[in-house]
Symmetry: C2
Subunit: 377 residues, 2 copies
């Protein structure tokens, strides 16, 4: 019997509130004080453990409580007693076992992959197609309503070798966005700049403001209008030379197919928390590439465990060409949850070589930050 | 000061488990033992109370736990201290305050309408455009895996004057569906018959099975394939003379616009639990009508309070021409939660004339069936 034919015997959960260093304003909403994630631990018969993280955002993908209960009540019965080998079957069932809750499904696939990888002695990327890169360029977001704090962050990023920043726009007013773009152009020429509205613009304001911002020639402009405004996305795309990217408009492969068909974007933000797993995230990137569109590895407000999952996905997905945004563990959380830090070196995320995810959470931190848990004695 | 300028001072919740009389199998999943709903009570300064019900289904719209927390944590702050008058402003904020959770938003709008109606002394339908009908034809679903129990139910429905049934198909096999359609054709000629797959067919099976079922000339065939299979919906529509209706493919106005544009259906199931409220449900029906498409008033596994909300919406929406499905309070729940029964007479739902919803839940039953509650002392 293959070791992967072990059954899964343990299914434990922690709902965490993790303190953060600063406020972040996005077009879609704000995060301040703490961010909340849910950690899943699967255990197989021989005691091997696999971990996964769900990183919900209540205004974007869903609430942490919905994530927690999706795992605890609706997905747990599909998993306990199943074989580690049967990942595709489990994920197929999970897709329809509970509506929405894509972060819960991402955590489940992550934990199943980590478990299988540790049992087999291979990294997660080896189970997703093999590796196409050893490092991934990191983009850090500039999203503080107090721009002076972001100026200090830019100094730190420069020193750390980070060379991509994404300016979050559309949460205050156009003058504030232009002021910050001018600051970046004048004082930070070494940085590539991306612009992300997170749906922050109205249909009335979008064309003029987006054309104006395009004159700064950012790498791309992301999701200026509401997720379902496909028609306006397509019109904006035609009005600028800068690539237009979709984020909230594209959760899974079903959306990506439609987005490509309706010509709403030049590229897409792939996030395992939106797609409902690493495999579906790969599919989003591949549908995009089949249409000649680009992709980058986005994230939610995550801890290092979700960063690791995203890193393995991107490491195995050549179609994700525009780097990643896994900055929170290093630049946003007061303390990450991993035993060993998530590694960013000279502005690049290092792809792990160890089995599974190549990192695991510190149980002491899980228990310390937990506001709810379901852990077998 | 208008009485509607009172502020909302109370916001109480009950998460109920309501025992049901039989198992129901749908293409999307099954319900057995109990169904779960969440009841919201709003109280205004003068002590007037308004009630609303959220009726989630975990495989369809979301989980009851997600609904409960959406109301308790994410929507409560928008509501407490707001004026009863400011319903449109509250609902606009609620739409983006938490992702998904359309049932929670439906409960909120229902309670706001009930409260405003009781304060003003007018029925809810008067605030939604005025009335276009006094009764609504009732359709009851035939969904028991044990068809002999449904044969007994058909006898009861016949005796009660109900003349529309909807056969739930696609959960076992085609032969079972055809056998039941033949039974209805031979033994129940007085019933209009509708067919609903709830996404139960694969792309491979759908064309042949749907064409076959269309030969029985049901009133319509509903949602044979997965919600996102718009292309196949459009193809199936072209292959049959019977109207094809969309249910899971259309949640809110954003979906309806696309469904009409892509020609996936001849009509739509309007449900306030999908659209996120009564007003948005009306909009779905009106977009459909603007495209020459029909609409009926669907529901989830609801108690009588949600039936009342749907009844008022349909009473004020001429575009909903195909009746309603508010059968659960009478034919599915072991006991409904309303103080006075939800009234169905000779197969028609009676539109209430009393202020607000024209009915309210029995507090003793709320407390009896509650598995969680957040009720101020």
């Amino acid at each position: 019997m293959s070791d992967l034919n072990q059954t899964i015997t343990g299914f434990d959960l922690w709902h965490l509130e993790l303190p953060v260093t600063s406020r972040r304003d996005h077009g879609i909403g704000s995060v301040e004080g703490t961010c909340e994630v849910v950690i899943l631990r699967l255990t197989s018969e021989d005691g091997t453990e696999g971990f996964g993280e769900a990183s919900p955002w209540s205004v974007f993908t869903g609430t942490p409580e919905a994530t927690y209960v999706a795992l605890n009540r609706y997905l747990r019965p599909l998993v306990l007693g199943s074989r580690v080998a049967d990942r595709a079957a489990i994920m197929t069932q999970a897709a329809y076992a509970v509506a929405h809750c894509t972060e819960a499904k991402a955590a489940l696939e992550t934990a199943l992959l980590d478990l299988a990888g540790r049992i087999s002695g291979v990294p997660v990327w080896a189970m997703l197609g093999g590796k196409c890169r050893d490092t991934i360029p990191l983009s850090c977001s500039i999203a503080n309503p107090d721009f002076q704090q972001d100026v200090a962050l830019l100094d730190q990023l420069r020193e750390d070798g980070v060379r991509i920043v994404k300016l979050k726009t559309g949460f205050r007013d156009h003058a504030f966005d232009v002021m910050r773009l001018e600051h970046l152009a004048q004082n930070c020429p070494e940085f590539s700049v991306r612009v992300d509205y997170n749906q922050g613009l109205s249909i009335e304001d979008a064309p003029a403001q987006v054309r104006d911002v395009a004159q700064f020639q950012p790498d791309f402009i992301e999701q200026p209008v509401r997720a379902h405004h496909y028609g306006m996305m397509a019109r904006l795309r035609d009005q600028i030379d800068v690539p237009l990217l979709a984020d909230e408009s594209v959760f899974g492969p079903e959306d990506m197919e439609r987005a490509a068909r309706e010509g709403i974007c030049d590229g897409v933000s792939v996030k395992i928390m939106k797609s409902g797993g690493l495999s579906r995230g790969q599919t989003v990137a591949r549908i995009a590439a089949a249409h000649g569109l680009s992709a980058y590895g986005g994230d939610m407000f995550e801890a290092g465990l979700a960063h690791l999952a995203g890193t393995h996905m991107i490491a195995a997905t050549p179609e994700v060409t525009l780097g990643c945004e896994f900055y929170q563990a290093s630049y946003f959380l007061k303390e990450d949850i991993l035993e060993e830090p998530f590694i960013v070196r000279t502005g690049k995320v290092l792809v792990p070589e160890a089995p599974g995810l190549g990192g695991r959470p510190d149980l002491g931190k899980l228990n310390h930050y937990a506001v709810a848990k379901a852990v077998a004695a």
